[in-house]
């Protein structure tokens, strides 16, 4: 290190003050409702390399930590003192901007003509044009439907405002005055940061500033490696699914091989599904992108809470993401709801790590980040009013349990930075009547540490012509998984007019046009449980029952805890509990190929009870036969598969077990491999057709690689026949 440990800590404080200070300026002066309600913005300082060397932990969105401004700088061309760059375009920034409403602004900071840093900020602006108000529609099929693309251009040139750029921007938003207010806020923020950085140069000297920036990043890297070295070397494979791609009900599979090797980690996404035709794609240009491994970053920060929060903690991470996969789509793939992928990748990467270090990793949380938005017509202006009703899932679904604590009720820490809206404020702001915003009992996966309970949000439509959108709904089909013997959490659901004769289950919301008086009920998924439920202390089960979070019969079925009412409390019947637990354990051991046999990789959650066993399953689409099959979680190929290996059993829930009984991991892997033969934009359609054809040819069978190749060959033959014509 070039800087002594005390001075480095001092400089870190200064940089942190600058970066958080930028965030406070944006909080104070921005206009958009997304800053106001959900803190959807961020600020940081980047090194000349483009990496963030300081990123505030407590202000704004946390998931941009590992990104880089390098490509954006390259795209805009040589920068001069006084320039300020604006962009929102994923394709020309290697995914610095991940979808178009996120408008990024950054300014190079020069000292004596030499670049020493960049000051950076982004705000999720209200609207940048496109198909729908607020610019995000899951059904957009190319990026041009999602609004104005702003490749990196100079908003200020040598201190002079580029009026042309502003004119362009304002002409392409439904709410130009709001956007301009937000851009002003970011400009004020980066200008202030520049001044304060130059103040530091004056105080400590240019060299000291440059050295400390490098040292802080070296610190981050070194400490990240230290954390990663705690993970046994080996290759860990895992996959998880998005329910569908909104065009069909074929699931989208996200698969990874995590290769841990002496303090380095490689994430190989080769077996991931191809890019989709809807807006779930994450543009990375094949570079590593922290949206792919936010779970890994959170793991590192949880293990070393004082690690300098900077981009260099991702230096030990490398990524293999072939062109045309979901994690490296080619232009012009649509990207609006890319956060859905981030949420699922959180599960995928942690699921892989769970096989090495289950006691350090939480079970899957709700795993969605659905922002429920209501828009109503504004008679006065002819425009529409919009409000975030509540964030569901990200900030409003159960968290996954972990070895030493229960998951957070109602909060999945994969996006635990989101805030909710006070009901009184919401109803003041827009015509809506919220009927219910509460935990949903018996939705958490059971475990030694249970998952977090789901949330139920019911609201009544008040105005004619109201529109409800909920980008990012997920886990309506595949359960949040339980870990180490814990059971899966419940599924999310959407119901129209619950509890009335008009009650009707709805599919995942894209755009809903309910009538006045209709009640829309959104049920988030619940978090998965961690560890054997039969080992949970009966008194903890009793307090959950007393709190109304677990029903007494669920306590008996899932935890083997027998309770008797004692006034307002519940007492544990110790003898009955012991007997019931013994019976459940024996039943579990007796079940063929289950329990105590980690190499199977799954437990049959239906028999083991669990939240997944109640409410949602009855109405679920996979209520039929549940067959056990070898889950992909078992493909652990670490050096020490035997003996002391911690228990990594994962309960995926019935839908996934049923799906993988046909589309086995082997079959999906094979199809992913074959799809590379096609141009990226044709792969998703082909995948769909292969699925359809396979269902015709092998309706009851488990698919293997040969069968997939056989189906594939039909299409290949047809294609070559077609080309000969």
């Amino acid at each position: 290190m070039r800087t002594d440990p005390a001075t480095l800590e001092i400089m870190r404080s200064y940089y942190n003050a600058i970066a958080s200070g930028m965030g406070h300026i944006i909080e104070r002066t921005s206009f958009t409702t997304f800053v106001k309600e959900s803190a959807d913005f961020a600020t940081a300082l980047a090194a000349p390399s483009g990496e963030f060397y300081v990123y505030p932990k407590t202000v704004g969105v946390t998931i941009f930590l590992g990104l880089s401004v390098a490509k954006a700088v390259e795209s805009v061309g040589p920068l001069e003192e006084g320039d300020i760059v604006i962009t929102n375009d994923p394709y020309t920034t290697d995914g610095l901007a991940t979808h178009l409403p996120d408008v990024h602004v950054f300014k190079p900071v020069f000292s004596n003509g030499e670049l020493i840093s960049y000051a950076w900020a982004f705000v999720h602006c209200s609207d940048v044009g496109g198909l729908v108000p607020s610019s995000i529609s899951p059904e957009a099929t190319d990026i041009h439907q999602e609004g104005l693309r702003i490749p990196p251009v100079k908003l200020y040139r040598r201190g002079e405002r580029s009026e042309d750029v502003y004119t362009f921007l304002n002409a392409n938003s439904r709410v130009p005055q709001l956007n301009e207010g937000d851009v002003h806020a970011m400009v004020a923020a980066v200008n202030t940061a520049e001044q304060r950085l130059l103040g530091l140069v004056g105080k400590f000297g240019e060299q000291a500033v440059k050295d400390s920036i490098e040292d802080l990043m070296d610190q981050g890297e070194e400490r990240a490696r230290k954390v990663i070295r705690q993970i046994p070397d080996g290759t860990y494979t895992f996959a998880d699914y998005l329910d569908d791609d909104m065009l069909s009900d074929t699931p989208v599979r996200l698969a990874v091989d995590v290769i841990v090797d002496d303090g380095s980690i490689t994430l190989d996404f080769t077996k991931c599904d191809p890019q989709v035709r809807t807006a779930f794609n994450l543009v990375t240009n094949g570079k590593k992108h922290s949206f792919l491994y936010q779970g890994l970053i959170n793991y590192m920060i949880s293990e070393d809470p004082f690690i300098p929060a900077n981009g260099a903690i991702t230096r030990p991470i490398s990524v293999i993401s072939p062109v045309g996969t979901l994690v490296n789509p080619v232009y012009p793939a649509a990207v609006g709801v890319r956060h859905t992928i981030t949420m699922r990748m959180y599960n995928v990467v942690l699921g892989a790590l769970a096989q090495a270090i289950p006691e350090r990793v939480p079970a899957a949380g709700a795993g969605q980040s659905a922002i429920v938005v209501l828009s109503t017509p504004d008679a006065d202006t002819g425009t529409r009013n919009m409000a975030v009703v509540q964030p569901m899932g990200g900030g409003g679904g159960g968290g996954g349990g972990q070895s030493d604590m229960d998951g957070a009720d109602g909060i999945d820490h994969a996006s635990g930075f989101l805030k909710n809206t006070p009901i009184e404020s919401l109803e003041q702001h827009i015509d809506i009547l919220v009927k219910r915003y509460e935990f949903l009992p018996d939705t958490a996966g059971a475990g030694l540490s249970r998952g977090g309970q789901a949330i139920r949000l019911d609201f009544e439509i008040v105005r004619e012509n109201s529109i409800v959108t909920a980008r990012g709904m997920e886990r309506l089909r595949f359960h949040p998984w339980g870990l180490a013997g814990g059971t899966a959490g419940s599924l999310g659901r959407v119901v129209l007019n619950p509890g009335t004769p008009q009650e009707r289950q709805l599919p995942k919301i894209s755009v809903l046009h309910p009538q006045p008086g209709d009640v829309v009920s959104i049920l988030s998924p619940g978090g998965g449980g961690w560890g054997d439920p039969l080992l949970r202390h009966p008194s903890r089960v009793a307090s959950d029952v007393a709190a109304g979070l677990i029903a007494p019969d669920a306590a008996l079925a899932q935890y083997g805890v027998a309770l008797v009412r004692a006034g307002a409390d519940w007492d544990v019947d110790a003898a009955a509990t012991e007997a019931e637990r013994g019976r459940l354990a024996a039943e579990r051991d007796a079940r063929p190929g289950s329990g105590g046999k980690p190499e199977l990789g799954i437990t049959p959650s239906q028999e083991a009870g669990g939240a997944a066993g109640s409410a949602d399953r009855e109405g679920g689409e996979n209520a039929g036969t549940v067959r056990l099959t070898e889950g992909s979680a078992s493909a652990r190929t670490a050096d020490d598969t035997e003996s002391s290996a911690p228990e990594t059993r994962i309960d995926f829930g019935p839908a996934r077990i049923a799906y993988e009984a046909v589309w086995t991991p082997e079959a999906s892997d094979e199809l992913a491999r074959l799809l590379y033969e096609l141009p990226p934009t044709q792969r998703a359609a082909r995948k769909q057709r292969v699925h359809e054809r396979a269902a015709e040819l092998y309706p009851e069978d488990a698919l293997d690689a040969d069968k997939v190749r056989a189906v594939w060959a039909e299409f290949a033959a047809a294609a070559s026949a077609g080309s000969r014509l």
């Binding site: 404080s13 406070h24 949880s302 006070p422």
Partner: protein, 685 residues
Amino acid sequence: MDSRNWRLGIDIGGTFTDLTVLEQSSGRMITLKTPTVPADPAQGIANGLELLKRQGISPSDIGYFVHGTTIGLNTLLQRRGSKIALLVTEGFRDMLNLQRLRLPVPYDFRSRLPEPLVPRERVFTAEERLLHDGSVHTELNEEKLRSTLDEIRASGATGVVICFLHSYKNPAHENRAAELLAQWSGGELDVSASSALWPQMREYERAVMTSANLYIQANVQRYFSTLQERLNAEGVPSTPFITQSNGGIMDIRSAAQAPVRTLFSGPAAGVIGAAQAARSAGIGNVITFDMGGTSADISIIEDGQPTFSQSNHLAGLPIPLPAVSMYSVGAGGGSYGWIDNGGLLKVGPESVGSDPGPACYGKGELAALTDAFLVCGYLNPDRFAAGNVQLYADRSLTALEPIARHLGMDARSAADRMIQVAIANMYAELSAVMEQHGFDPRDFSLLAFGGGGPVTANFLADEIQARSVLIPPNPGTLCALGALTADFAHDAVLSLQRLAADVPFAQLGGHYAGLARSAGEWLDAQDAPGIEGRTIYYTLDARYKGQAFEIELPVAPELLEDADYTRLEEQFHDLHRRQYGHSDPGAQLELINLRARIVGHVRKPELATIGAAESAVVSSGTRRTLIRGREYDAAVYARGGLRAGHTIQGPAVVEQDDTTIVVLPGWSGRTDGAGNLILEKEAEA
């Protein structure tokens, strides 16, 4: 002259109970310390009164008595309050659990929201619903309420808080439910409605605050009645006034009703005292800097007026009552140094506490900031805390050894580095506070108090480029001074949440008059014969339509006699421009909250003065001090020897009973007629 010429202030701390008496006619103050009796705090007061008698002040000489209590605060922090229930609108049972969702540290798998004061099993729902304008959507179902009462009783709750949606607009349902519950339970349940305590929008915040109030109330009331019995027995003729979070005082009956108003009263009284000191020095803009054992706190005084905050938090719980603004900026004297995983030197946030205390107290092993101060030569080991605590520098050196070894330097240099790390941390926190509010630190002076404040204030002032550092004559008794000179004050709020265009201007005047009336009734009801005149202050929380945060605009009462919004809007645009750098005269104004504060003035005692210097100041010698990497022979002065007009040059150390002042090289200090020491940076040569 009133024969009862003495004012008495009492503060009960963890270790000592401080009794401060102030002579109204001279401003003379005397402070006595007696050990706190944790099991019976009122006994400590009785013991203190005994000590006073020995000074020749009998209880019957006391005409005015102010008490700052931390009973409510400690009950809340230690979670030792009453078992209470909460009744909310059906469908919103998890209000206290959901909170605002955002995790304190979203990255951290272990980050969780704070535990609610009322567990879910004691949260009940009522069938009723109001709409956002206060109109009734669903009537209160009284039959169901009746059976809910049985459940509340069965839960073992001694009281119940009612918080219904939109009750701040229309309290009818809350009031009705409260009335019925009280009646049915035959007064056996304490019932408290959120709209009665503080009718402001945001159901979660309102529910938490009302719950906190009821949660601590029984403890506070028990304490108050013991206190009054004891005081009567001792022959103290006046009943105590209680300090509030808003910097004012109230009678003991009001405090017993709304103890939640006392939660931040300790630091608030300090800021009121600081405002007095700043006034005596003729300084308007001040950052108060109070550094104690475990933390350092700041507050902002602008143009002589303390600033207030409407969104305070205590241990993660929102308490949205107006309170003197207060921000924690980091380490206290007990915060210790350590080396983190990556080898960086850290100071705090963990503290050694009062037991074992810093290593130099002779018991602990960890090097705290106080050790660093001692080793660098800032503190006099024989004069610490008026000589009551002997300090052992060798213990400090031993404790610093591991840090020094890691840094590859001697222990003394390591101590110096620890101080600089702590200062940089405070700088970062302080600058964030200033940034959040749009203040420029260069327009402010730093007013230091608390044991550690004057030791570190000059360093921090240098970092933030503050104008000067102000150290009042008795930094240890600033809280007592504030309490003894505070006015009666009460806040009232009306949440409007409407566009200005929808509220006729004349209606606005009517709303304010209504607020003034209810605040006036509060003041009239105070058991406080000595109030001399009253002033009403109006403010308006407003913002542009669609904006994220509102700003608080002072509203002159005569402005309300205007015909329309023109002047009010102009003032809003001006303020917006001043705070945010831009304004938008074309935008619609949204009126969020109307606020009124009534102040009942109490007679101010004379301010003490000190004699003018008759000869040059004499230092008692020099001490080797290490300041930011350089050794100096700093002149040492006794504070008592500094008379008005004296100036001293840094590097210097000024010693007094309750603190030590460090003056940096390149800075000089002068003493004014009120006894304040003012440090300023000397012009660069």
